[in-house]
């Protein structure tokens, strides 16, 4: 074999376990291209009917929030308690 092994990039794998549910991240696999990534993901992550649909995304294409600034980044939702139904005092009214 040649000295330089070709690099198969990593793909993140998301599986919908059944109709009606979101795709959920389950792990990653390596593949030469997206079609192969799908097949590998099927073989690795759905050997026992764990899924009805799979997404694969090149790991390099994911943009994530930084854990370093997690407090600042999520602060805008922290102090808006009026966004929650429990903020409102309502008398004992049915269906409310």
């Amino acid at each position: 074999m040649s000295e330089v092994d070709p690099v198969w990039p990593p793909y993140e794998v998301f599986v919908r376990s059944k109709r009606g549910l979101n795709h959920v991240h389950v792990g990653s696999i390596h593949a030469a291209d997206p079609d192969m990534a799908l097949r590998h993901a099927r073989d690795v992550y759905t050997r026992r009917n764990e899924g009805v649909s799979i997404w694969v995304v090149r790991s390099a294409d994911i943009t994530a929030s930084s854990p370093d600034e997690k407090d600042a980044f999520f602060a805008p939702s922290g102090d808006k308690i009026y966004r929650h139904p429990t903020f409102y005092d309502v008398e004992d009214v049915p269906h409310m």
């Binding site: 074999m1 092994d5 198969w8 696999i29 030469a32 073989d43 050997r47 854990p67």
Partner: protein
């Protein structure tokens, strides 16, 4: 992601552990924590991959189509487990191909148990029962390991391991209900695998230098000796149900401490196997290295095809 500890970073890390929450890939973590995890997860992944070999030997000679199909599913699971774990290791910034390289150049280890040969078909059952049984004892607590991706991989693995253990036990049970010759095969197999299975939990606690640190970091949840005891207590009644004798004259119930007393494994043997002097060390690593080399053209061809598709698109 600098690993120079600054006070708030280290405090955040310690707080997460103290609240029994999980550390996630992009969180700050001490270098030692990262190194310990990479070593443990890689070693675990390598064990799954090398673990395909001892049982794989029996794929073509299993006695029925049913048994072949079961064994094939099991060996495929081991490959899958290896990949879940390499995937978890890669979240720590290492690369799977580097880990494979470290395995075939003997710089990283795998479980000592896979350096023993599978001499009879009964070994397929015994490995499922004892070796996978021991693995379950080791792995169930790791589902609560402090590193999120490792814990999640372990949850998937544990679900599948219970199939492994049950198919092994059922295979042995079938043989025990067969002829005298079959029963003798099972006993002979159990005689060979019992002590190496106890060694799977690693050296005794007072000779296990990394345990304390791993426990403090909540990577590990129980000591080697605790897990070994748990395994013995779980297995003795199963051996009785099967009708086999575990080859330990010192094995007896201790009512006072509510567990079985058992003899001392041969720790020199474990040292030798870990050093590379077990019966099959060379065969296992050579076969892994050959498979990697022989698969080279497949990796190259797939990469070339992908390159072509990308440029013609």
């Amino acid at each position: 992601m600098s690993a120079e500890p600054t006070a708030p970073e280290l405090e955040g890390f310690e707080q997460t552990l103290a609240h029994d929450q999980r550390i996630e890939p992009r969180d700050w973590m001490p270098d030692g924590y990262r190194r310990t995890l990479v070593r443990q997860i890689a070693q675990h992944a390598h064990s799954e991959i090398i673990g395909m070999q001892p049982e794989g030997t029996w794929l073509t000679t299993a006695p029925s189509l049913r048994r072949k199909a079961i064994l094939m599913a099991k060996v495929q699971d081991e490959a899958g487990h290896g990949i879940y774990l390499y995937s978890a290791a890669e979240t720590l910034g290492v690369d799977r191909s580097d880990l494979t390289e470290q395995l075939i150049t003997l710089r990283q280890k795998y479980s000592s148990i896979f350096n023993y040969p599978t001499l009879s078909y009964a070994d397929v059952g015994t490995i499922g029962w004892l070796v996978d049984g021991a693995a379950i004892c080791n792995q169930v607590p790791l589902c609560r390991s402090s590193y999120g991706p490792y814990a999640r991989a372990m949850i998937r693995i544990c679900k599948e391991e219970s199939f492994h253990q049950r198919q092994g036990f059922e295979l042995l049970m079938t043989m025990m209900n067969g002829t005298d010759e079959q029963r003798a095969m099972v006993q002979e197999s159990v005689d060979r695998w019992w002590w190496p299975s106890l060694m799977m939990f690693g050296p005794p606690d007072d000779a296990s230098p990394n345990s304390a640190r791993s426990m403090a970091w909540r990577i590990k949840r129980h000591t080697n000796d605790e897990l070994r005891q748990r395994f013995v207590d779980m297995t003795v009644p199963q051996a009785e149900a099967l009708g086999v004798t575990l080859p330990d004259p010192d094995l007896r119930w201790n009512a006072e401490r509510g567990g079985y007393d058992f003899g001392e494994p041969d720790w020199d043997e474990l040292d030798r196997v870990i050093r590379g002097e077990g019966p099959c060390n060379e065969e296992r690593v050579t076969r892994r290295a050959d498979a990697h080399r022989e698969g080279g053209w497949v990796r190259a061809a797939a990469a070339a095809y992908a390159g072509k598709q990308a440029t013609s698109a």
